[in-house]
Subunit: 426 residues, 2 copies
């Protein structure tokens, strides 16, 4: 007999015996206690948060017409960054951008992962077989390339003066990803001469495919099965996800079932019709992948209200596709002066990093901003600098609803005299 | 209007309008799509794991008579270490040792935290007030001092040859804890001369109290409100928990509502009647706090079966109350030879550290063991060495059901020729 079964049965048996014994001495009390004893295995087998904690993902939909036609990019949900402690996003609150309302219901015992194409030995793995191989666990953020952009999905609420960090920056999340380095699997398969790209495909209904240069595949990409200590959540790709650290979210293919090694990018639908950002001169920004340095103060932030003058800790998150965060500076006077924030461990490459700084609010208007620098020396730009990169001005960014990705401008929050905090991006 | 409400209402309105328009052109298709469109906010506001992932905490009860009388240490549940990826324990699977079946249902808005006793300025905080103060986030394990002991709660299944790592070592878990350093709060309160201890009290029904030397309180103790990115779970102390890194679990007072600064230890019930471990010479081991270096291989491990000869990654967890893990060695031949395992980031002080090592199984019997060393140079002992510390022999440890805490002996797993893996502690 399984020792667990045995334990439980012994308990029930002993409990019943004690109750029986007690009958003669205190007939009313102990039997009732025995009967009312709950099954603690059932009560606590997988815990839940307090019913008084209300933090939730919020849907961000600006294309109902697409949704009704069942077209791609039907919906996204943003993560409540303002409620997060530390640098890990709880898995239940990881942002979602997806092409179907429900993730595929995949049985991990039945799932197969194939590597084929320009390789000497095509390989096929079960999830259990992958778990036998050398593994790594690394903190990495995943971010939709449209996150915090004034246009595109989520743009309308991003620009609202009432916006929270969830509204402005909620399409990014950070997890501890566990899996097998893709480089190891490709080495095992034997990549042939002339191979320059891979195409990764998910097993969702839309068969989402993405081309990725083989250099990235051989660098730090992961075939991940674990997320924050447990199997990847269904909404995040259960049972397997390709993790491409620091690259646009779309490269992190969920429900991964196939990688084909090829010698040219496969012009998948998402690469040609939806995702390339268009500059004002009409040229697309093709095949851009790496996300720039970005940061946001999560407390105090839009939608909050400071109850009184006095001490507040400024706290926020910074990240970069270029590497680790080396520095975060804080301004409380609209950008006139800046001082260094404290960075908190772990400071991992291509991961959210928590920063804090002390601040005393004197009751006057104030504008709070954070500006990060990554270990390549790249500095987070101002809105004006971002506009210039796009060949536009700030007024264009304010008005456009065109998809504008890779918008990593400094985020200002305005503190009013009544303690209310507002989005002051434009 | 709240922008979230606004978003959802706009979507519903637009959806309805489109459906209305469509009526004239494709009366049967689009209205049905509109009606069947689910409320995605509701579907995905707080995600769940796949229904096919079955890993759960398991109750460990060997005192049904106490439970029926509603006495302390009524129940505990062990965490499924063998299923965990990386070094973070999912909050839903964090082990529990508790004095009531259900945690208190505390409203964080109503909760108060008091510091009083030998201080110049008694202080009282709401949870929101604590969140305004300087915060830190740190990885720390919490471990019941009876974890992995052959006696005490959990002893019977710990000794079974069929034991899994959950059965043998499931009373430890590791989280990212976020909160305010207790040292900062005590400094603010002004600790008076002559104060040598604190007494921390929870607001559960049993008013669990614990005395802690003031040196620890001023060192690295935390008044924590965050756990793995979100509010502490009810089973782990929501809304506040005292975290005493590296010290026996009982010092990490849940549902913390009061700290009294005193000049002697308060002989709380749990300190005098239940927890001191008794040596064979009859002397108690009073006021021991720091947990020794310990490790366990979680894969391959008891209860698993290797499907075939060949390559396996050995993977496990190591931790020490004395500091960070500096080294883990692996033996696959019953302790004759040892080689270094790889340690994976983050390697944090007083936190679980993930280790891995390559292993080729040749189909013969094998005994797998791990042995860790912390950054104080303390090495995890053998069973014989632990027995000697207790003034006993291995046979005594095998037979006893007395509470024997702080049992950190090396854990051997025996691999049989049929691939089955068994607990070989005795």
């Amino acid at each position: 007999m399984n020792p667990r079964e045995s334990n439980r049965r012994n308990f029930l048996k002993n409990g019943a015996a004690l109750a029986g014994l007690a009958m003669g001495t205190a007939a009313s009390a102990l039997p009732a206690a025995a009967e009312s004893a709950p099954d603690i295995d059932e009560l606590h087998k997988y815990g839940e948060r307090s019913h008084l904690v209300k933090s939730v993902r919020i849907g961000s939909i600006n294309n109902p017409e697409r949704r009704l036609k069942d077209e791609p990019v039907a919906f996204g949900l943003k993560s409540p960054l303002q409620d997060q402690a530390g640098m890990i996003t709880p898995s239940s609150l990881h942002f979602i951008v997806s092409h179907g309302y429900e993730p595929p219901d995949i049985d991990p015992q039945e799932h197969r992962f194939l590597i084929h194409g320009m390789v000497d030995r095509p390989l096929i793995f079960t999830v259990d077989e992958l778990k036998r191989l050398p593994s790594v666990s690394r903190f990495h953020f995943i971010e939709c390339h449209g996150n915090s952009s004034p246009g595109g999905p989520g743009g309308p609420e991003r620009k609202s003066v009432a916006a929270t960090p969830q509204d402005t920056h909620g399409f990014t999340s950070c997890s501890l990803w566990t899996g097998v380095p893709l480089s190891l699997l490709l080495k095992e398969a034997g990549v042939q001469k002339g191979a320059t790209w891979i195409t990764a495909e998910g097993s969702d209904a839309s068969k989402h495919s993405k081309s990725i240069p083989i250099g990235k595949a051989l660098d730090d990409a992961l075939v991940a099965y674990g997320m924050n200590g447990e199997p990847i959540r269904p909404e995040q790709g259960f049972p397997l996800r390709l993790v491409t650290p620091g690259w646009q979210g779309i490269n992190n293919v969920k429900w991964l079932h196939r990688i084909q090694v090829v010698d040219e990018p496969y012009m998948a639908m998402m690469e040609t019709s939806r995702y390339p950002s268009v500059k004002l001169d009409g040229k697309s920004r093709w095949f851009e992948f790496e996300l720039g340095p970005k940061s946001v103060i999560t407390r105090p932030s839009g939608g909050q209200r400071l109850p009184a003058q006095g001490y507040y800790e400024i706290s926020g998150l910074a990240w970069s596709g270029g590497g680790a965060i080396r520095r975060v500076e804080i301004s409380a006077d609209g950008g006139k002066t800046w001082k260094d924030a404290q960075l908190h461990d772990p400071i991992a490459k291509k991961a959210h990093t928590r920063f804090t700084a002390p601040w005393n609010w004197n009751g006057e208007e104030a504008v709070l901003q954070s500006r990060c620098t990554d270990d390549q020396g790249t500095v987070q730009p101002t809105v004006a600098e971002v506009a210039k990169l796009w060949g536009a001005d700030v007024d264009y960014l304010r008005k456009t609803s065109a998809i504008v990705g890779d918008f990593n401008a400094i985020q200002p929050w305005k503190v009013n005299r009544d303690g209310s905090v507002q989005n002051a991006i434009f």
